[in-house]
Subunit: 465 residues, 2 copies
């Protein structure tokens, strides 16, 4: 499947048809934000932006899209318009890889409302998913500390979504991926070991290991659990490691893919060390996630490389980030969406978000949302609980939304996945530890400037029943 | 992203390099199967086959794939081989849309082992995901009975995986999708309503409804919860419905997207009926799944159309099907993969699977796995519990694995998604109700023929430590 502008929900086009018919088409501002941190965590890692911008620069309806829409009740003059469709809007956004929080704009689209609506579905689809996976990866990185992390989830990923999962995993802190296509296109480090089938294809395991070591001596990792880890796989791997030494080569590692990984990794380490193979690494896989890895580390399991699949690439258990796209301004006028649940009331106007930094440049733990036109803000108030407010004079305030696209063209140079990952790591280092713990993390404060809150309250009152 | 043969795990290529170096390359048989029904249910709906076969027919390495591999340590002669790579194997498979069960081959690949390994990742990636989603859709269909089901999950799907989710949802029983691209390419019915932003873009809701009804009178569904469902949205929708009547048009429906859907749908029905608008349908959405819909039906909520998003397209809460691909034969010799967990021991040899049908053509509740060369089988035994066996003489036996690809070419005509969905429905109708319930469904029996069991036991004994 190639991206065309038909990668959208039908109602975007239905609404667009009405906007087109009731011209002039107005100018809209939409906010992208999510409502809850994934995984009951204390933060999220924003990912997917570069992919979104690259697609938007060239997004068009194909001729078969146009014929399809013609057969499905759309008007001729509107279809003529769609033939020349191009996104020509402006986008302000947090930087990809930044640490972000719920209920504050992460990205803001300004465009004529037809363009802004047609891109909505794609934008949500890509940002919601990559942010989910980058956040999961970041949590797994937190548990794994400095050990190597390998993404090997493609076979359990949501079809071609796995391609973007590998990219997002790298942004969130994974070292490499088994996914060749993603590694090639995004310049991510690729790696892999061997499958059980390789060993099964031989009459005996030792010969399978020998052939593998002979023809792939570099980065050679032998899978030792096909028949019996401690009685067969590991002794055979040790034999081959010694043979490799006599050829001037070194076995990189052995891989455990089943059983009790804490127990087996300790036994394995001992057997390797007893054979003077202290340099041979232990790779472990099998339904790992941030909690299992944390537990393995706590048990002192001497695992050097963790291979993570399903739980990473599907973002289990959440499986989705609840990001939304809400109209906040139309033809210069503020707009609001009410809800019986006050937390779901949207924020009107084009806005800026400021992050509070302490004297050491660390994140204090508060982002303030203000009207875009406001200058330095001195106080922020909780969106719903007016008894909570924070004076902001003592902080350095970092404006988070930067112009990344103007008139449909990117305004910043392309950043590689490696650069985004490095930026993400540097940002996460500024976030205090208590926001990173898995159980009841500290809640990062989001507040509104006095002016924004007043505007919101006025609009709520206006629409109240 | 386009499919090229680099849509695979690196280790497939690493192993392939060794197979290539240690010629002759052997002939392999691999089984695709999963170990557990998704969603703790009693069955799964097999989906994704047609997409897999279509891709396999034309799968190649691109020139940039080859250069990438050249830079990553692969040998020149092997790369020459990859330049001409084509899948030329044979595939036997259950029909797409069939009702399938754990721990029996669903699909069998016969090919030289290099080809069989290179396609493994893609095959698992596509079949695992589409089977997961088709099964989820089928469960939602079970709850919704004869009401209309609309897939509207693209914005929360796993990036481009959403394209395949819409296809699989249609196979599992959904009537239409909001996903224009998928609808266009797979000839699925497309539908959609309107977004809150459309109403917000107007100064007042009534004018928004009027414009929408004027310019999109066919299939017009008005979203009534932007400001207040019962006090504003619904009265305005009723006004517009009456105006439409005077123009000779009919409002199709109103959509509820928040609040207590059971309460609001009853109130809505009453208000519509009191206004002589008995024909106006009620569409409901907001975090629906099979359990919520079941509960709404039990409460008598008069909802005509259910829009389902996140829970459908992400296959929550499972998010993945645990399908695997295991070597069962190599160069004519049986192969096995042992495990400390006996349930994870694979089955050797090329096999056939027979479904037991009763006198009425209904599924009796048993599939028997036999050696491919076996004729009619008279008894099946539980794979691990030898006290359990079943005499098969009284059943009509339906062989489930049919040849779908030979020498890399499809052997059956292309089936449309609509045909596959109709087939799936007809198969599910043959499955007794007790396998379809959500709580502790009846367990469908899977057994081995005497010959297969003997072969398996002999190999286990041979490799035992």
């Amino acid at each position: 499947m190639n991206f065309t502008a038909a990668y959208t929900d039908l109602y975007q086009l239905t609404m667009a048809q009405v906007y087109f018919a009731t011209k002039p088409v107005g100018h809209a501002v939409f906010d992208y934000y999510f409502r809850n941190n994934p995984f009951k965590g204390g933060y999220a890692i924003f990912a997917g932006l570069e992919d979104v911008l690259n697609v938007l620069e060239t997004l068009k309806f194909s001729s078969s899209d146009i014929s399809y829409l013609e057969q499905h009740g759309f008007e001729k003059d509107f279809l003529e318009y769609l033939k020349d469709f191009q996104f020509k809007g402006t986008i302000y956004s947090s930087q990809e890889g930044d640490v972000v929080f719920p209920n504050r704009p992460i990205l803001q689209v300004e465009a004529n409302i037809i363009e802004a609506q047609i891109i909505e579905t794609f934008l949500l689809n890509m940002l919601n998913f990559q942010t989910l996976i980058a956040t999961k990866a970041s949590r797994i990185r937190h548990s794994a500390k400095n050990e190597i992390l390998l993404d090997m989830g493609l076979r359990r990923a949501h079809a071609t979504g796995g391609y973007y999962a590998s990219r997002a995993a790298a942004i969130g802190g994974f070292d490499s991926t088994s996914n060749v296509k993603a590694a090639e296109d995004y310049n991510i480090s690729s790696s892999g070991t061997m499958a059980h089938s390789f060993i099964q294809s031989y009459e005996d395991e030792l010969q399978a290991f020998r052939d593998f070591a002979q023809y792939r001596p570099k980065n050679c990792v032998l899978l030792v659990d096909t028949y019996n880890t401690l009685k067969s796989g590991l002794p055979n791997a040790i034999t081959v490691a010694k043979e490799m030494e006599s050829q001037g080569e070194k076995l990189l590692g052995v891989r455990l893919d089943s059983g009790d990984l804490a127990y087996l990794s300790k036994k394995t380490r001992k057997m390797l060390d007893d054979a003077d193979l202290g340099y041979v690494k232990i790779v472990a896989s099998n339904q790992l996630d941030e909690f299992v890895i944390k537990s393995l580390k706590e048990q002192g399991a001497p695992i050097d490389i963790f291979g993570v699949g399903t739980n990473l690439v599907t973002g289990k258990p959440d499986a989705a980030l609840d990001g939304v796209y809400k109209l906040s301004e139309y033809n210069g006028e503020p707009r609001i969406k009410l809800s019986e649940n006050i937390i779901k009331v949207s924020l009107p106007h084009k806005k800026q978000v400021y992050r509070m930094l302490d004297q050491n440049g660390m994140f204090y733990g508060a982002d303030a949302i203000a009207l875009f036109k406001e200058d330095k803000i001195t106080e922020m108030t909780h969106a719903y609980d007016t008894s909570k407010s924070l004076t902001l004079n003592d902080f350095n305030q970092e404006p988070l939304l930067q112009k990344v696209m103007e008139k449909g063209k990117k305004t910043q140079p392309q950043r590689s996945v490696a650069e985004i990952a490095a930026y993400s790591k540097s940002r996460l280092e500024k976030l205090p530890e208590e926001y990173k713990r898995f159980q009841n993390p500290h809640i990062y404060k989001i507040g509104l400037s006095k002016e924004l809150k007043q505007e919101r309250d006025t609009l709520v009152a206006k629409h109240k029943f």
